[in-house]
Each structure stands twice: as structure tokens, then as C-alpha cells.
């Protein structure tokens, strides 16, 4: 009953169709490689969902040869020098899962083919090399190492995922727990996928041998792959339809950008952009390349502002496609522990502040400037982003908006500093054990409240300012919670200063 345009009811006759893709017979004329055909002959029964999903993909319907003929602006492929034997057939199972055996330590013999389970950005680079190159420079592709090879951040991971035990009136943090790490932080950051042996499995085809993979399954953005590459394309471009529609929907990003540490999706969905997208995207075209603002979509999703190739109706460029998401970002709003200019290098493990800590700012907020982009580069990236805004908003509007964002970065950093100063008293008085007491920064009650100040509330507030989801900057984990945390830290500092009675004595 829904009608895309209210006056059009009378026109609802005999003109079109709602293509029933799933019900359509599969046109056997799409040229599949013999190897892929052999894969499918079993897997259509073994894993029917994947096969059906793939059949709906462009990979299954278009050969690279055809795709290469498209005009540049409409191309989804960026490779020009694809091995000729790959251009004639559609892109099927064998094309992605068998053609890189020397690189893949996870390759195993499977019905006569050298198959590897994990398809990596390096594999995708066969046809999409520009995207792979950009993504390698995207800080997201280093998310595993940036977290786990930073001593301080790894301490945070440990304080969350290891089991705490209580004995003799004290709590002790247990050993690092790799499985819990995979199941929590590394789910989004990416695991290390390595071959740990082989095992026999009884299948419908009899006994078969498969590699045992550590850290599998995983679709984290900074996954460390068995071919030595880092990253994954599948967090956004979901298997096996690899539809650009899925990546352009905000839900793709929500998988990792929804929690209280980085509630970007929630902020978006509480914004005008999110509200209009939710109400009207049934009438959008989320498939077309390039993406024409106003024609294919009105209200932007995450991709429109941060990643996609956007043009206007005249075909003029609004924004170039980038898989180096930092390209449109002047600031890293994510506070560690303060918001700071975007790091120059996607590998942030190299950063050291003046105090020698692996943090992009001092504990008191001053940026570790040599590792971060300078104001000129910040301006450039800000202007790139603003180019998208001005498709729909006046310069008055855009200037007012960015003024608020800058102010929010400053005030939230100040509120983090206030909380940190209370902690510094607590640490220096010894009522809480910190770095100088050879203890972690994240494992006591007050420390955990302090972490929430910057990791949850300051982050949420800045995202709310950036994307106009004001709730998340006030009562939904925003300024209210920042001011509350400061007062509660102060209350606890007073409590902690009181002499502690011996444990175990029954109260009178």
C-alpha cells in the first residue's frame, strides 16, 4: 500500500515490476568456471544458504571482462590488469578460495583443489586493488595490533576479559584469556587466524581433513590473516552476496559502532539524518554506483559521509570514494584518553607521549603532536567532509555545526581532565594503586568509573555533537553522566581516605 509519491496512486498501472529475484530461475548462462561449478555441485546441498546468497551477488552475474567495460565513474572494480583467465568467468567459490595457495598457510587439499577458508583483502585486491591499498592505510585495518600490541590498551583488555577471583578478602585478576578476548574486543578488532593443526571431520562425502584455525570465525576489521595480511572486507561487505546495499546501510557499521564506547550508530539513529533515512529509505536506491545525492538517496547513511563516491545530478563530484576512512576526519573523536587530531600513521603502536606512555596525549590531555596530523591537514580533511554537508546545507548551517563540534571536543576533554585530576590525587595519596604503585590503571572501582568518563561519556558526547544526536550528548551517556561521574569520583575519594577496618570482623 505504500506509495513512493502521494500523487502517483492513479499511475499505479501496468508499468513495472517488483523483481522477484529469489523466485527467479537461475540463468545457467552466467559463465561459471569449471572449478566453481564443481564446488557448487556439493555445496548447494552442504551449505545451501551460502550458495543461494552468492547467486544473488553481482559476483555471480557479471564477469570481470564485462565489469571492466563500464565507464570509470560507474566501475566497482579498480583493477585494470587482471589475469586474463580470471576475466571470462563470473567470480565464484574457486576464484576467491583457491587461487592464492602459495600465500595462504591455511590452504588444504579439498576434492583435488587447494582451498583456503579465509579470504583476505589481499585476495580481494586481485580485482579491487585501490580499495585494498586505501584500506591498508585505514586505521581500522590495524585494529588488532593497535589494541593488543599497546601495553596499556592490552592491560585494559585484560582487566575486562580475565576472570576476577575473590579470596581472603581481596580480588585478583586471572590469566589472560584468549578465547574471551576473541569473543569480546577482538570480535570487532580482529583475531589472529593461524593454522593450529588438522582434524578429520565426518561429512556427507565421507571423512575429510580440515585445518584447525585459531581465532576463527572472525570478521574483525583488523584481523591478522593466514596469508600475513591484516584486515577483512567482510565486516561491511557481508558474505556471500557482497552487496553494496548492505555496506551502505547504517546497520553494517552498527555491528561495531553501537556500544557505549562508540555509540555512533545510536547517535545517528537519533539524528535527523537517521530519522529521515529510517522513514524514507524504502524509496532509495542503495545499489547504484556512483551514488547520486538527491536522486538515489536523500538522507545520508554512514557510508555517504565517510566512504562513498557521491556525485550530484549533473555528475559533478561531491566526494571521492575512500576506504581510508580517516580521509574525511580532522579529529579522532575516540578519546584515548582525550580526543586528538587523527594519527598520521595507521599503526598507532609507534606513538609515545612525553611521559613515555603509548598514548596519543598526555594523561593531562596535551597531544603527542609529532604523531598526529597538523592543523593544516585537519583543515583539509574537515573541508572534504564539509563538501558532503554542503550538498544539502548552507554554509551558515555547516559553519554553525562545526563550531559546536570543536567546542564539544574542547569541553569534553576538559571534563576528562577534571576526572583525571581527581584520580591523580587518589593515585598519589595511595588510596588507589596506579602506575607508580606498579599496578594497572583500569582495575579498581574508582579507576573503572574514571574509564567510563572518557571511554563512554566523553566519546558519546562528541559523537552526538558530530552527528546531531543530541540525546547521546545529554542524558543518554553524555554531559549528565560526565558531571555525575566527577561528583561520584569525589565522593569515593573522600570515602577511600577513611581508614579501612580489618576485614572479617562481624559488625557490632
Amino acid at each position: 500500500m505504500r506509495k513512493p509519491a502521494p500523487l502517483a496512486a492513479g499511475m499505479l498501472v501496468c508499468l513495472g515490476v517488483f523483481l522477484l529475484t529469489g523466485h527467479a530461475a537461475w540463468p545457467e548462462t552466467f559463465p561459471m568456471s569449471a572449478a566453481t561449478e564443481e564446488c557448487i555441485s556439493c555445496h548447494v546441498s552442504a551449505t545451501p544458504g551460502i550458495v543461494a546468497d552468492w547467486k544473488r551477488s553481482l559476483h555471480a552475474r557479471v564477469t570481470p571482462a564485462e565489469a571492466l567495460k563500464l565507464p570509470s565513474i560507474r566501475k566497482r572494480m579498480s583493477g585494470e590488469s587482471i589475469p586474463p583467465e580470471l576475466t571470462r568467468n563470473t567470480v565464484g567459490c574457486a576464484e576467491c578460495h583457491t587461487l592464492s595457495p602459495p600465500l595462504h598457510e591455511d590452504t588444504f587439499p579439498h576434492n583435488g583443489y587447494p582451498v583456503h577458508t579465509v579470504v583476505t583483502p589481499r585476495n580481494c585486491a586481485t580485482c579491487h586493488p585501490v580499495e585494498e591499498e586505501q584500506y591498508r592505510q585505514n586505521i581500522m585495518s590495524r585494529a588488532h595490533h593497535n589494541l593488543m600490541r599497546n601495553q596499556l590498551f592490552r592491560q585494559l583488555v585484560q582487566s575486562i576479559n580475565a576472570v576476577t577471583r575473590y579470596t581472603d578478602g581481596r580480588t585478583t585478576l586471572g590469566a589472560e584469556d584468549p578465547i574471551s578476548n576473541e569473543d569480546s574486543c577482538l570480535f570487532c578488532h580482529g583475531t589472529v587466524v593461524e593454522v593450529k593443526g588438522f582434524r578429520q571431520v565426518h561429512t556427507i562425502q565421507g571423512e575429510m581433513e580440515f585445518p584447525i584455525l585459531s581465532g576463527w570465525p572472525n570478521m574483525g576489521v583488523g584481523r591478522v590473516n593466514p596469508d600475513g595480511s591484516q584486515g577483512a572486507c567482510t565486516p561491511c561487505h557481508s558474505r556471500h552476496q557482497f552487496s553494496i546495499e548492505v555496506a551502505r546501510n547504517p546497520y553494517a557499521c552498527a555491528k561495531c559502532h553501537k556500544g557505549p564506547d562508540v555509540p555512533a550508530y545510536k547517535v545517528y539513529s537519533a539524528s535527523k539524518h537517521g530519522a529521515v533515512f529510517a522513514a524514507t529509505h524504502h524509496a532509495y536506491d542503495l545499489q547504484s554506483v556512483p551514488w547520486v545525492v538527491g536522486e538515489h538517496f536523500t538522507s545520508p547513511s554512514c557510508a555517504a559521509c565517510h566512504i562513498s563516491l557521491v556525485v550530484n545530478s549533473d555528475g559533478d563530484l561531491v566526494a571521492e570514494r575512500t576506504h581510508r576512512v580517516n580521509d574525511r576526519k580532522a579529529w579522532r573523536l575516540f578519546g584515548l584518553i582525550y580526543a586528538h587530531p587523527t594519527p598520521k600513521n595507521p599503526d598507532t603502536t609507534i606513538i609515545r607521549n612525553r611521559a613515555g606512555l603509548p598514548l596519543p596525549t598526555e594523561l593531562t590531555g596535551e597531544p603527542a603532536a609529532e604523531f598526529l596530523i597538523d592543523p593544516k591537514e585537519q583543515n583539509k580533511r574537515r573541508r572534504t567532509m564539509q563538501g558532503v554537508c554542503t550538498s544539502c546545507h548552507s554554509s551558515q548551517w555547516v559553519q554553525g555545526h562545526f563550531r559546536r563540534l570543536e567546542h564539544s571536543i574542547q569541553t569534553t576533554n576538559e571534563m576528562t581532565l577534571t576526572a583525571t585530576r581527581i584520580m591523580m590525587d587518589a593515585w598519589s595519596e595511595g588510596v588507589v594503586r596506579g602506575l607508580s604503585a606498579q599496578d594497572g590503571l583500569f582495575n579498581e572501582g574508582m579507576e573503572k568509573q574514571w574509564v567510563e568518563q572518557w571511554l563512554f561519556y566523553a566519546n558519546s558526547t562528541r559523537l552526538a555533537s558530530a552527528m546531531m544526536g543530541a540525546d547521546y550528548g545529554v542524558f543518554a551517556g553524555g554531559r549528565w553522566q560526565m558531571s555525575r561521574t566527577v561528583e561520584q569520583l569525589l565522593d569515593w575519594l573522600h570515602v577511600k581516605r577513611q581508614p579501612k577496618p580489618e576485614s572479617g570482623e562481624p559488625k557490632p
Copy 2:
């Protein structure tokens, strides 16, 4: 503008239609019983929304006689021996609301018909006896009694819903509050619906007498009905369209599985499954029976994994339909206070642990094994669930996933134990009054923090592991909050040990 397949734009001509159900004239040829026709003649004005909704239902369009002719795999009806007089007409108002007078204490004379307001599973069993039988063995159908006839759980309900008063420097919990119970816990668990008298109502038809029903309205899964049955079909199969589409959408489950105690829907919507479903379900067929994986849907909703009859494109069975949701569950992830193997009997009021408490585990976590399924039965149910997973995922994938889930059950139970051990010190020292002090377990500040450890955070973490919504296992009510709660409990234990000054004395 949205197109199901990107290459199909050129084919958008003259082939199909978007059926405008709501605007279509009602085909008066659908054979309605005379009684139903009489109901509708008034109710089309009295409650037009219901009537219009019902007119869109299959109940209004198909007679049982026609439905019985379908091949078994396509049947939605499971009854074979339906009273002949019911098979010739469509299933209308009278068929559900008038035909069980002897059983229904809520039956009242209404325009010459014996009408009962509350339609129960026993009524639905006329045509759907297999589903009703399964649902009776589903733990959900006992949700009212399992909560309210368990002394400890009822104490929890009481501590939440009764009004707390503050007098003379102390808090006191008021009397049990049946209306607040109906409005909170029992909204999902189900109320007790009983006839409490009759009252005159002035209607467009003049004065009429209607029964006064306790606990009404309610669509809780374990509702205690005026015909003596337990449960309700309408929580998922919403009135009066009873569309399978509504039940297959994740929102149906979200009504009761969204809060911090059981954030299943939130976890799902942060998962890959949820993201892909949200982005692509506009192109799914959520109506067909059986439900063909890959053809009718790609990414599963709750129903696909837990309930629905799923087949593959060859018509091979992936999973049998079940309304005994426990059939596919090895564990009860919901901690009471620890996660434990699924109870054998849907009636959990019979469970006693070794300490004599009505809990499926000891306070220190050991399962009350005789009331719970054994490892062999757990394996069987796990394999049933994994059968759905393998429609789309390799055995490597599935094995890795379930290994994490098992680990998460173990570590979250350990974190619950840590918190419980702190409480045991608090209770034994008398700084918090527990069972041995003839006091509740859930009514003081520290106790409430302890409850959140298992009821919110451990539950959330396990659901996140089960459904790959990692946020809910880390920062969104997950492992972060578990470790924080442990430290905060310890802080409070220290505070509580300090001698308490007299109240009312002004501070110096």
C-alpha cells in the same frame, strides 16, 4: 527506487505488481459463518481496526477444508480431525470467541451468543493441536507459575514492584502490589485472568453486560486463562492478522527479550545476522511455508534458528518446526543465578537445590543436576541447532563458534561466583542482612548490585556469545560491567564494615 538486483533495472517492465491488499475490495465470496457475519455487522463500526486487520489474515481467506488439502510440508494447520461444521467456513470471530463455552468461565451472553473474550491455546488447538501440545512443553507456557510460585523469585518481584517507604531513617518495603506486577513482570510472564464480576457498559447498542476480568489486558507467554489453560499464542502471533510474518520478524521476540536481563533482540540487532536482515529483508519472503533458506531468506531472524520449519532449495529438511523452543537449546543461558543445562520439565517450581532453595544451581554454582538435562541430551539439542548453522556456515566455523559459547558460559558463571563470594562475606559478617538474618536476598543496595552481576551482565555476555553481538559481551552490559561490579561490591563491603554513626545528627 530500490531495486532487488542491481542489473535488473532494465527489466523493470510490465511483469508484475505490488499487490495493494488494503485498497482491494473485500471479496464477499470468502465463506463466513452466519455467526461471524453477525459479529462483523456491528464490530465493523465498533472496532473497525480489528475487523480490517482480520480481513487481511489467512483465517479470513482460507477455510480449514481448503487448508487441509495442502501437502504436509506446506500445511500451517496440524489438526486432522476438525469438527466438520468448522471446516466449511473461514475462521472468524465466532469460530474463536464462541465455541468453547463450557470451558470458559469468562463466557457471557452477547447478542444471543455465548462469547468469551480471552482466546486461549486450547481454543487454537482445534486446528493447531501439535503446536499447542509443543507449546505446553515449552518453558515459556509456564512463565507465570515459574515466577510467582517460586518463593525466591516472587521475593525478587516483590522487591522491585512494591513501593518502598522511608521513615525514621529506614526503608520498608510495602505490600505486594498486584497491579504493578501485572504492569511489569507479568506483562511478559502472563497474568492470572479470572472473572471478578460483571458490569454494565453503555454502548452504541445500548446497555450491555461484560465480565470484569482480573489481569486483563495481557498477552504474556504464560498467562493463566479462564479456561484453566496456561499460555497465549498472541504474544508472537499478533491479533487479528495472525500473520506468520509478524512472528518471523525479530520484533515479535523483542517485546520481551530486549531489556538488560535478557537483551536477546539487542544482541541480535548488533550481530551480522541482524545487520544483514535489517538491510535486506525487504527482499525476503517472510510468509511462505515451508521457509526455504537462501530462497525466502538469507540472514536468519530469531524464528529461523529457534522455531521455524526450514528446508533447503531441494526441499530437504534443515530443521523441523517446534513450538517447544527448548528443543534447540543445550543450555539455559539465563542465569538463575548461574547458567545451567535446560531444565527437564517446563514446570520449574519443582526444582530444589541441595540447600533446599528453589534454584537450578547452588548459590555457588553447582547444578541441581537431577532436574536438568544430561550432557547427552545437551549434545542432541546442540546438534539440532547446529543443523541450522550449517546451512550457511562450515563445520570449522560452527565448531569455533560453539567453543566460544561454552567458554563464555563457564567464565560468566565464574564471575557470578566471585560476586557471590563477596556477598557471602557481607551476609556472614552481618553488614548486609541475607537469608540467615530472615531477610530477602534482593532488597539492599549491595544485593541489588549483586543481582545486576548475574541478571544483567552475565546474561548479556552469554547472549552476546551465543548470537555474535559482541558489544553486549563487552561494554554494553557485558564483561566490563561484570568486572566493575566486582570491584564496586568490594568497595562497598569495606565501607559497610565501618561503624555506622547515629542518624539525624547534623554534621559538624
Copy 3:
């Protein structure tokens, strides 16, 4: 693949079309004014998104002259005496942005036209005077002044948005922060938009001068406009498509009614109404006027119950359209600090309780009755709302539902009173500094917990009762949190009574 009706698959042939609005060529025959045409000639390049969006609007497709010919029940325009020169052309840029220069202090010369950036309700009243008149009586239109001109509420704003600093062991609240206010509370409440000067901007047309506007951008419901009017239509009727569909979707309301202080959208989306809307609204008609219950929609969105003109299939009135949302509300569920009868006057700055505070109740809950509607008026408004309910629900159902809501208002007010009584002891003992100590009510740790009791948890519980989203009345910020907060306040009262050691002394 989705089919609106399951039996209709066979009918999916050659009957209709999915109108591809966006791809359709723009019919140049829609009569645009010469001024609008000139605007568009540049802005199609300068801000292509806006122009494309507007082209999909009814404003761009229908002239007021045509719209005036519609029968009254189908009219979206309420003005009868529109200046003749405005009726012949569609409603374009110039019609809204240039025709009120004398009133608009933000008017500036722009390519020969007197343009004003901010379109206000007074502008919209040219064609929609009834809606504008109603909205002026809607409490929402006063949201800025009601917040910022109430001394106590402004203190709350200040305690949230000003930066807190920590020096010498004490916290101090910084100066009022207008930019943070705009970015948080005033985002929804509305800013004060005033001309603060002019600035030169380099555009594709060369140097141009634009006014510098304070508080811009803003789409808050109570915005104070440069033409002296209060309010904005765009929070719900989003620019520049102004589609009624957007306003009828629940997401429109969610922008400001989602946070923990007023989680109306979250409650709705956890309710049966929300679940069915989410699952089935793809088949609704959210565009038609009037809105026919059962035909155009089944499950109501926010607008259906609170605002829209709803009729039944016979054309009988179910509810009149109102932009004075209070028309259907007996109570103001939003506690300040207690829920209370709806205020008589949308300007609530005039309210004083017996204690002289600008609050609609005493601190102990008794209503400031002379400023609030009386029980008779409450009954009238309740019956208006119930008229919508009875489109789909029996009188038994409706009576049971409203009984619970009334009970919830009473018990949540009691729980607020309990928390307030604990605070009154804290204030009178001087362990927390309150009004009698010339200090704020919202700036210390215990005070902030107390605020959450009424602003978050009591509000959430009442909304859950009103809209049947039970989770939000139990564990998701509901009764559980109310009872927990009471116990925690009591714990803190005991802690605060203990003598405070000197700061800065290291622990032994």
C-alpha cells in the same frame, strides 16, 4: 520476494508498478514562480540535495489553488484566504524564504531577493493557519522559554553543561556555556536564533554576504525565531520534502523522545504496537489524508494516537487532527519532579507551588492545582485518547489498561517521594548542600542519583505503563532502578554522615 498477502502470489502479473519517483524525469509543467525558478537555477548546483528533495515534495507538485479544491476531510491546507498571487504556483524556495521580509530580522539581500534563512511557523501559517494556531497552544512550542526562563530548570541545565573543574580537593561549576547548551538541551528545546552581524563568504557566485545567526542550525520544537515567533515545524516535518510520511513514522518523534529522561520511542518500539508496526508497515500507506485505521495502517505510530486525523472505513471520525498534543493527554507523565495533571497554559514559567518554587508540584508531590487542568478536563482528554484505542480494543481492554496507567502514576510518584525524603534528611542535616544552604539541587553526587530517580526511572516506568513497553517499567530504567536508587541513596546518606578526613593526607 516479500508479498503483501500470502495467497496473492499467483496474482503477481501485469497489474501494477513500483513507481520509480527518483528516476522519473521532472515534469517541467508544474508551475513554479519565476523567483523560485531563479533560486533553483543556482541551488540545483549549490545544494543539489535540497532541491532534489523538494522536487519530491507535495509543495513542488501541487498548487495551493488545486489543494483548496479538495474536500475538507482530505485537505492538508487549513487556510482559506491565501493571497491570490500565491495560489497559482507551487510552493517553492521563494514562497517560504522571501515573502515575509518586514517581520524577519534575518532577511538579507541575495541576488536581488530579500531572503531569510529561518522559515518559521508564522511563515507556514500562510497556508496552514489552524495547525500553527494549535501548535502555539502546544506546550512544545514554548520548550525553550519553559526550560531557560525557569530558574530551577536552568540550574539543572547549568549543572549538566557547564564544565566542572577540580582544584584544591573541591569541584567548582564553571560559567554557563551557551554553545554546549545549544548542542545539548536546546537541540530539542530550541535555541534563540538572532542576527549577530554579517560576514562575507566566497561562493561559486563570488563574494556574498550572509547574516551570522546565533543558535543556528537548530530545529528544536520551541525555537525562538528571528521574526519573534516561537517553535518550528521542521522537527517533525523534515526539510525539504515535508512528507507527512516522515512525521507519521515513529522515528520523527524518536529524535527527542528516546533518551533516558523520556524514552517514549524505546517504549513504543518494545510494545506490541511497535513490533507490529516494524513488521508490517511496509504495507501501510503513511501518506493518505485522512488516515483510515485498518485500511491505511493497522498498528498505530506515535502520530496516530497523539496527533493525526484518523477515520474509519466508513469515513466516521475516530479522532480530529491536532497539533496541540496536550489535547489527548490527561496527565503530564514527565515528572517535574512528580507526574501531574497537564498544565492549563503552555507557558509553564508562570507556575509557582506553595513553597514559591517554579514547579508544578510541591517537593513532596502535591500538585500546584490552580495551574493544572482539573479532573473533569482530565476525563475529557482521556476519553479523546480512548476513542483511538477503541478502534481496535474492547472497552474491557481499554479500562484495564488505563487503570494500570493511573496506578503507575501513583506508585512512581510515591517512589519519587521516598527518594526525596531521604534527600530532605541529607539536606537538613547538612551532609548535602541544598536550597537552604544557598546551593543548587542538582550538583552533588547524591543529588544526581536523586534526579535520576524521577527524571529517568519514574518517567520511564510511566511511559512503559502508558504504551505497554513493559521492559522500560522493570529492568530497562524502571521499577528495578527506582528501588535500587532508594537503597543506594540510603547507603550514601550513611556514608556522608561519617566525619570526613582531611584531604591530601596519604593513607597509612
